[in-house]
Symmetry: C2
Subunit: 579 residues, 2 copies
Amino acid sequence: MSYRAPVPEMLFTLRHVAGLEAVDPEDAAAILTEAARIADGVIAPLNRVGDRHGTPFSEGRVTTPPGWRDAYGTFTAGGWNGLSADPDHGGQGLPKLVEAACTEMWNGANLAFGLCPLLTQGGIEALSAHGSDDLKARYLEKLVSGEWPATMNLTEPQAGSDLALLRTRAEPVGDGSYRITGAKIYITYGEHDLSDNIVHLVLARLKDAPAGTRGISLFLVPKVLPDGSANDLRCSGIEHKLGINASPTCSMAFGDGGGATGWLIGEENKGLACMFTMMNAARLNVGLQGVGIAEAATQKALAYARERRQGKALGAVEATSPIVAHPDVQRMLLTMKAYTAAARGICYLTAAALDAAQGPEGRAALDRASLLTPVAKAFSTDLANEITSLGVQVHGGMGFVEETGAAQLMRDARILGIYEGTNGIQAIDLTGRKLPLNGGATIRAQIAWMRRVAEGLLKSAEPAFGHGAARLRAGIEALDRATSHQLAALGSNRPEAALAGAAPYLRLFGLALGGACLAKAALAASAALKAGETDPAHAARIALARFYAENLLPAASGLEQAVLAGGGFTDDAAVALAG
Amino acid sequence: MSYRAPVPEMLFTLRHVAGLEAVDPEDAAAILTEAARIADGVIAPLNRVGDRHGTPFSEGRVTTPPGWRDAYGTFTAGGWNGLSADPDHGGQGLPKLVEAACTEMWNGANLAFGLCPLLTQGGIEALSAHGSDDLKARYLEKLVSGEWPATMNLTEPQAGSDLALLRTRAEPVGDGSYRITGAKIYITYGEHDLSDNIVHLVLARLKDAPAGTRGISLFLVPKVLPDGSANDLRCSGIEHKLGINASPTCSMAFGDGGGATGWLIGEENKGLACMFTMMNAARLNVGLQGVGIAEAATQKALAYARERRQGKALGAVEATSPIVAHPDVQRMLLTMKAYTAAARGICYLTAAALDAAQGPEGRAALDRASLLTPVAKAFSTDLANEITSLGVQVHGGMGFVEETGAAQLMRDARILGIYEGTNGIQAIDLTGRKLPLNGGATIRAQIAWMRRVAEGLLKSAEPAFGHGAARLRAGIEALDRATSHQLAALGSNRPEAALAGAAPYLRLFGLALGGACLAKAALAASAALKAGETDPAHAARIALARFYAENLLPAASGLEQAVLAGGGFTDDAAVALAG
């Protein structure tokens, strides 16, 4: 089956988990319904053809798959590219929370397609926050409309996670522009035929710049210069990848002919800050990519499990049962659905915090968004790998055959934990930079929020929650203890112990916060049922929250122990890896 | 880097974990060293070319990749195909335990290649145990030598996990042969050019046979008949798959021209028993495929992590450190190495039980092998998926690029949890059929064995084990309680609760047993160090066992809770999956 944007579930999560208030529920429903029409009807049908066709590369040109240019035109013409952007530059001025649901849709429908506007959005954020008025006037509207998509040119062969090693050079020309020279790799949508121009955002180093990341500057380097001539840059090749085959991953050569023309964004040597603006937006959006593809895999597996008949379930009347009736298959499907809902809740909460940062809450909300961003990125994308792999498993042998499409979702999802900062980097960011925010007050406030949800669950005494309240409480307390351990380790003379525990800590954080999100949805569903609503989705939300709490959340105790054991192996690792 | 068979680690595990006694250690070392020469030098170099080239299909013929026919010739000429087979039929008569190490090697070197002899081995087992003397005389020697490889023809479009739904028909001709008519799918190596003949083992249904699995018979159906003429069967197509591209997955048509000629193996309508003989051997071997590819992924990731420099590790002197110095990367590599060792230990223990069943221990050892086989298959292959995915992650962006080879390992591994009985089927087999063996005495004996290892660890009071003994003990007790729960649920009026907990139960079993295997190796290593040996591999074994116990084994408590919660969702699943 093809992907269908889960609009009712999205709306429920927006409202009851993330607390959407800025937009009237009916308006939000109208926007998401219209977005779903594009996602389901225009973008999703191109997912398989994109995978099979790929993006042939010849003589510096990249050809996107059949139908893609038209679909991109439909997408941008509808104003979907600039949903949260400033109306002064042609955006729709909608909350990021509403945009988050739409980002999930584009990527659930077609991850390779969704990547193009995702990168443009990063460009919009960076240019909006740091660009000069002149540069904004020339480029922002085109980026917001999507007429000119943006790219992020960070990675070089020797500089992946470590941007201090960048070698691409920039030299001022004297007229306000710079000459850019160097080679970049892994540039997503670095070259394509979806548009007539491409706006490259390029990290480079000025002559005599300080060493390391304090000597990096960000430049805007368009494929086509304002006078209509071609800039001195080209795509020198594309990668043969595991997945997202329709998204060209380009090697880019800047300045073969003496130097590509670019303009500084922000100040000289302050490129890292600009890049983080761009990348933080992208990190949340990559988390949303994870949610989207997890939802797609869950839908596909569920549809298959309802149709495929093998074996007779206990108590069944007919000779063969649909495999959805077998407890083991149910466990896989419930795991997929529950984890998808958990990741969605966390990503939407993060978007809501970004919106709240624009209001009276201000800085505290921005700090909360900073805290949640690495969790939204890494937890959601780790789960996307697990969920898409479970999707293959539910299909049995059919899952291993490419024709079915389940395998493509698994291949496509695999990049999500790697790009925009590997999930290991996210974990280090969470422990090393985000836990210490405001002396730990930001994380403590987030844990307090989770506790309030758990208390609500306890108080409700709803029998349908089973042992859910107790399990959620136990998960949150495990997180609380692990948090104390990480903060203490950071301040100790062995901070490597905190880094060693960073990955299980992030997982534990996501697991507990996801449980709180599901519980919040379940409480709202319970209230709705009590108020006389009869939508079966409400009972589903309660049952799913219970499944998550009783079957998935118990992993918290093992994760806590792994966090606490973190320091134990750093001294021994070289010994253990020898031999 | 290319795969290198880890001969010293294999020998150590054979001897100190699985208890190899039948073969002198020096002889075992000589055999494994020679096997490694073939695995590393002949088979491994064909892994990438196999993936890229695939097996083109045209007019009923399948062409294997360049070099494969020669390599298969080298492999069979060396006698490697029939290591454990009866010398009366040309086998080497070696213990299955030694063969297990070799099977791991072939598949670590090249999974798609290793599959061919793996299937032949299943055929050897079935024919040896159930074939008539006449049929054995005609076919067994050719199978043992590998001159004629065997296949397993089980699956049909409507009959995957549920063999009761088989429709392929067999009709006696009157001369002792049968006419076989029907279509099979997903037949690995169903057609190829590695050999001049292929021996198909085909499940089919006789006219008037009882319905369901009690009406299935097994037939030997050769590609080329004894008189040299072609049998009435053909390959009608091959699948486009996620991985193992060099292993042709064929659709087979039997009897288009009136009926393929076949001969019954065993008795009429007793095909299921014959198939289980074939499949049990295959299940252990699939577990060993998981170990092999996990080892290959671990070696590749470790080599990359030692070479790739990004970032400066805490306390490092140089400006950039190899990424193996970063705690988060260490955690990934240690997880890969420790899980690989755990899976190896479990698979070797299973092979040792099969050997012991031939000796004075007899039936009890055979039951132990039956108990361990689903764990060896499912735990090892679930881990293979996780380890090969971690391997991609350690490579960062390079991991997503096919050129690196890490992605191929992940793609190839993905079939292991699906074929020869999905891992869900293994879990149901373990809980439903194996736990009740001898009224639970077999599983209790296995748990007692684990407890003795844990007690040994406790008694040793070796400081290098850290909290390892306590963690191992906790894991074993969690398994013991979960076992009691599963046995009680099986005997209750809600046996579906046992099935619902089957998957986390199997994982818990594997996790605890794997911990015991690592602890056993660590104890032996500790003794060796005390005896004055200086091999750094000994300290590595101790540190690895500690890492496993402190960082991975704590997951046991969450798994136990999931087993206990199993019954909670079967009633609610339909509700939770609606909406």
